[in-house]
């Protein structure tokens, strides 16, 4: 799970949204759910609305049970729903993008995101092929250019800040998930450079596990050398 001290709730909420579909290009295009909402829905699907009513066997006409009234709707509480569904924070399918109405927070600084990424790349230079490093570096430069040029939206910047946090605390899966959510929700903005960030996460992860394996090995040999008391090591 993400551990972001400030603004986590806000960022999480921004990840659960519903946008209307593209009515111009597709008739009755369904609404678009964010990555957060879609992954929430994963798992065994519960089909809630499955009941049917048998028709009356005696062939009698179904008399409408209610009448239309020209007045206003009845007041008072609604009878409880038999399918209690908790609507997501945000809006239903028919409405548009909901702006988050939280106290304005300063958006993340570009340096706070780029510097750790560049540092991570430096860490990988010994371990990763030069060509790959150059490619990643090129894409980080593209990210910087876009950011500095004001071409990135605030949700993208916020989630990148979160990603960088996860990366620096070695939460590889969480960082990977954030990269995925950005690719799904904001592909137009991020596709050109995000694949470099993705690769950087993968390289850092493999470097980290190599280093951890080496440490284990050296710890094991160090132990071996200590088990026999009084045994002098050959110089």
């Amino acid at each position: 799970m993400t551990r972001c001290p400030a603004g986590q709730a806000e960022v999480e909420m921004a990840e659960l949204y519903v946008k209307p579909g593209n009515k111009e290009r597709g008739w009755n295009d369904p609404p678009q759910f964010s990555y957060g909402l879609q992954t929430q829905a994963g798992g065994p699907r519960r089909t809630l609305l499955t009941k049917r009513v048998a028709a009356p066997q005696d062939g009698s006409p179904r008399v409408p049970a209610s009448e239309t009234s020209p007045g206003p709707p009845p007041m008072g509480p609604l009878p409880p729903s038999s399918n209690p569904t908790s609507p997501p924070v945000g809006s239903g399918p028919a409405s548009g993008v909901e702006p988050t109405s939280f106290p304005v927070e300063s958006e993340p600084l570009m340096e706070d995101v780029l510097r750790p990424l560049e540092q991570a790349l430096e860490d990988c230079r010994g371990h990763t092929k030069k060509q790959v490093c150059d490619d990643i570096s090129r894409r980080l430069a593209l990210l910087q250019e876009r950011w500095a040029g004001g071409k990135l939206s605030i949700p993208v910047k916020k989630r990148m800040a979160l990603l960088v946090q996860e990366l620096s605390t070695h939460q590889w899966d969480a960082a990977d998930d954030i990269h995925r959510s950005l690719m799904v929700d904001h592909v137009t903005e991020v596709s050109q450079w995000m694949v470099g960030v993705k690769r950087l996460i993968a390289e850092k992860r493999s470097l980290f596990s190599e280093e951890a394996a080496d440490e284990e090995k050296s710890a094991a040999t160090a132990e071996e050398n200590q088990t026999i008391p009084g045994f002098q090591q050959a110089p």
């Binding site: 579909g21 290009r25 829905a41 028709a55 490619d135």
Partner: protein
Amino acid sequence: MATYLEFIQQNEERDGVRFSWNVWPSSRLEATRMVVPLACLFTPLKERPDLPPVQYEPVLCSRPTCKAVLNPLCQVDYRAKLWACNFCFQRNQFPPAYGGISEVNQPAELMPQFSTIEYMIQRGAQSPLIFLYVVDTCLEEDDLQALKESLQMSLSLLPPDALVGLITFGRMVQVHELSCEGISKSYVFRGTKDLTAKQIQDMLGLTKPAMPMQQARPAQPQEHPFVSSRFLQPVHKIDMNLTDLLGELQRDPWPVTQGKRPLRSTGVALSIAVGLLEGTFPNTGARIMLFTGGPPTQGPGMVVGDELKIPIRSWHDIEKDNARFMKKATKHYEMLANRTAANGHCIDIYACALDQTGLLEMKCCANLTGGYMVMGDSFNTSLFKQTFQRIFTKDFNGDFRMAFGATLDVKTSRELKIAGAIGPCVSLNVKGPCVSENELGVGGTSQWKICGLDLTSTLGIYFEVVNQHNAPIPQGGRGAIQFVTHYQHSSTQRRIRVTTIARNWADAQTQLRHIEAAFDQEAAAVLMARLGVFRAESEEGPDVLRWLDRQLIRLCQKFGQYNKEDPASFRLSDSFSLYPQFMFHLRRSPFLQVFNNSPDESSYYRHHFARQDLTQSLIMIQPILYSYSFHGPPEPVLLDSSSILADKILLMDTFFQIVIYLGETIAQWRKAGYQDMPEYENFKHLLQAPLDDAQEILQARFPMPRYINTEHGGSQARFLLSKVNPSQTHNNLYAWGQC
């Protein structure tokens, strides 16, 4: 009967089976008199979060013509360490590893709660999954850009060690060599001429040169499974370069003059894709994903010419035998589909265009291999983007829901034979004692191959009772069926899922009430519907409807209670009460009525119908209708015009569409803005309730449905009005069921 409903539901949850009859008539003659055949809907990979696979291989019966898997129905002698096969009665020795078993220390596969159990295969190399993108570049700029972005996004959703490849096509077909260094190369083929598999493999440099005589090594046309080819590389290695390559894709450069369609060589592109995979990775899980924005207009498999003034074939043209290219094109794609299935690969078709794209001719590619068919208006729509994302949905374990290379083997006890299967499969032509001579669906075999499947893929399997009339009920009183599914899990590991079920026999002459009470009308409706749709592929529409009507009449004659000459006295018991409704809506459905649909649309609807599980199939046959009002909680209502009321909101789910319809009064209140007034907050909640329920459905379903929000008098209300039984018309006819 409440207990049978529970029984049916428990069995579906545990074993993924729904039988038309749960107590079986014991003779062939009586079984045919039941009208609805003995058959089941079977979901081979039914989602079972509570069933971890066991880490050993199944124990098989030693009789070579049987080879059934050890299961809870087998008799076991724990002292002598022997077990008796319940299908062929062969006595088998337990393998040495089972030396410690006893009555109190049973292996899982003998316990009744493990009627469905999954085994992991430990041996053998695990080959990576393969995704080969075949991309049409004859698209409008916006569409191509949206498609490119979706493909780039998919690289983040694919597993890192999956292999990925790219073929683009328009007038020519380009096979892209994926490399990490510098310049990207591609092999270009003409789109007009079909090539054999060998020619394609030669031209791509996939066949090794002949060995010198002295070496006498056997010819190895396929590479070692772990070696990737130049055209199919692991995602983790190639993602950056492929992202750039995709980003640089241009529209097909060949100019399209006024009044013409672009020249699209889909037939050759698919042929090359199939040949490429055949030559490099046969018999391992692979998806060929075809993305197309219009009909094939050139080369083998062309569906229409390039003159816009000659429209693509309609049902009317097909009926009048006026569809010039149809037979030849269908044959081309059928040949490709069969080859692909033989190689264990599957073909998906993602067709987004405002006009038809040739799904009618190409449908066998998806239907025979188990691939997906997605139909949309444009790649720049939420429907395509999200449907495509959902292919990569993960299950509760973090694995993909898709699986590959499945073979389903069905065994039956002696009193039953297998008549056939209907679903996304091909026959493996395995004859044997279980195979009936009477075919229903894909018959003449007890084994089928399903190259692409997921956790909801469902086959309809049809049986024949072969016991002679008046022969005694078999000893033990129960018949048994075993379903053995070998498949490649999305983690690339091979697994075997075994489901063994049994049901009681009953003498129909003395125990008809028992058989009746155990009838599953929902399963029966879907199984009959699959038979009807299967027939509709080769028979005339009106003949299929006549057949369906005849079966309904015969069923009602057999199981209805009535007094002669008195229609009002007709009654059906509870276990049959919904069946006539299902048949009524089925005969009006787009699966059997092609009027108002293009041939492509009919093919699309039928494709999804032939593979969904029972609940979804039933939604397609008879859409769900729920009513929301101030008078109580949301309730299901009859799919009838009498359910359309001024002060109610209706939610209709047809599987392909979600429709929300506001009654006249509700619409007026909404227009007046009552939902914005604080005293009428309950009205705001009422408006929101169906939206929330619709969202639940929209969030999960594959393919994503269209979403229609309309009201009384709105033009989109036609989606609701065309589905309901029009029991109330301007003539005020009241009788139910008059059609």
